[in-house]
Amino acid sequence: MNETTLIGLFVAVIEFGTLLYLAALGETIAEKSGVLNLGVEGMMAMGGVTAFWAGVETGNPWVGLLVAAVAGALVASVHGLVAVVLGGDQVVSGLALTILGLGLAAFLGEDLVQERARAKFGSLNLGPLNDIPWAGEILFDQTAVPWLALALGVATWFVFTRTRVGLILRAVGESAAAADSSGTSVVKTRMIAVMIGGALAGMSGAYLTLSLAPGWSEGTTAGRGWIALALVIFGAWKPGRVGLGALLFGGLLALEPRLQTFGVEISPILLSMLPYVLTVGVLVLLSVRSRNRPSVAPAAIGLAYRREER
């Protein structure tokens, strides 16, 4: 282990953290409104394939990112239609969305598999900032996407805690009936939250195929969407804590192969289990704690809201 390998590790931590954070932030927004969306993996895959396609066509990674956000939102709207508008089972619909997204992405991407990655996010060039030892390489030699993710995280925290929109969103997620009786449209609020969630998952997929591992092939998302889902629980539905969790889980992903180059012998299989072990641990803690305190989870999560059944 030396300076170069340590810096390399931190760079990778931020990269994998960004990948997880974008998707987990989106899921946090959806779940705050009371909608559990288990389709993250599918939305990520759709974002990844459409972003890569747009990148190949236009040569511009930002167009790819935008296209992925739109694609993610569209796929998420299927979940919205079933689970929010029609009041279907959120778990079943979300799982179906994962299968749909993965299948559709594989189908759409068939001709992209051996395509050269023409559009990739380049490193930020911030002049003197890049020359700062350690921080320059770790923070400023990144692409713009991690910074974008950070900005989105701060914005989400601000909206959640400091704005009326955030209040409405949380009210819908805590008690849809109460929000409804105060004149808020539950369906509209939840639909928008789910679609924003999809857009962020799509962007996460775009970051994967345009920056972290440029290229497209079926299976590229490799279960990262599920880690993002666990991360939301780990972060107790708070944008800041989810962000810290993203760095922790991202760190585990980054460490997995790197520990070997540091000469540390831990089974990589054991390491890849850790995010889930940690999440189970946090779940246990949360449920023990919530015996005598209100739960941190949105109270209406997973519950369909149908006015006539109030």
Partner: protein
Amino acid sequence: MKRTSRMLLILLAVLAMMAAACGSDDEAEAGGSEGTEAPGGTEAPSEGGEGASDAKAAFIMVAPIGDAGWNFMHNEGRLGAEEATGVETAYVDSIPEGSAEFDNAVQQFIDDGYNIIITTSFNYMDATEQFATDNPDVVFEHISGFKMNDTNFGNTFGRMYQPRYIAGMAAAAASETNRIGYVAAFAIPEVIRGINAFTLGAQAVNPDIEVEVVWTSTWFDPGVEGNAAQALIDNGADVLTMHQDSTATGEVATEAGATFIGYHSDMSAQVDAYLTAPVWDFTPRYTEILSSAAAGNFTPESFWGGIADGIVDIAIPDGSPVAAEMKEVRESIINGEFDVFEGEIIAQDGSAITDADGNLVVDLQDSFGNDIGAVGDALNDGILLGMSFFVEGVIGSAEG
């Protein structure tokens, strides 16, 4: 209200399944249509009265054929053999190992009159063996395993370590830091053999070369593969190679200004840093199987072919300073004058494995602790197939 939503859910699920299935469906159709123009190669004796035309071959693949790796090369082999023999072929891909889908796919092909079944992933082995027992009239060939029977079930694999050795020569010549990074999937004999051969080849050019190995515990995950590759670059490697199914390692090499040695297929179209790659070519072997099975004289064997058989090879990069030496080694492997694992072999810890005559000086076990060789034995195929040690110059653990 409730009923509508349930209907919609079912609809959605069906849609999802259709989308998932779509890929393989139209591929299979497209695949079968190409070999219909029966070629002139009518040397098949066809005494049974019906002729070669009723032979039909089906291929089962574990992952999408578009992966530029293992499955892609099997599909290339299928198309090549179809063209050479005129035997109609079809395939399905993305069939998980040890799954009901596998049984369904094989049974379906048999029911549809396919009488040659080729299964191309290691853990298809036991199920293929069972099918061979149950269907004595159908020819089965399994790729990358070791089981067979006396009548209708054989296996095929390639001595990939031969081109790996030559790839190591090219890598050593391209390295200035004397450090080569090797992104590897799992610590199994096939992969370990490749790493050792690669390292021996590299040391033949430059004895100071070190090959650092990082295990990913996955055949395909571009995220992990790229991360491992970057870790190797950070650790000083300026040439990267891999035993994986994606080109992620190549992307990292390009980004870092390093040299990339691929695997499976020619990746020059996708990766800027590409120099060369040990590649598979299943066409000759599949042609042999299809024509012998169609002629009714298929004889099962454990086929482990090398460069000489055309099943593996490597393109010699003209620009390499050791191009002439690489050509020479390739020739002497083909005509049997040189063997990658001949002569004295030193283990990672500096202890001797074989003496100058190539005979073991220690007892060897495979990774399960089974004895595969005793002092005095020659380093034979059995030892190669169970290889669980690294040679000197490899950095990393051979235990994964």
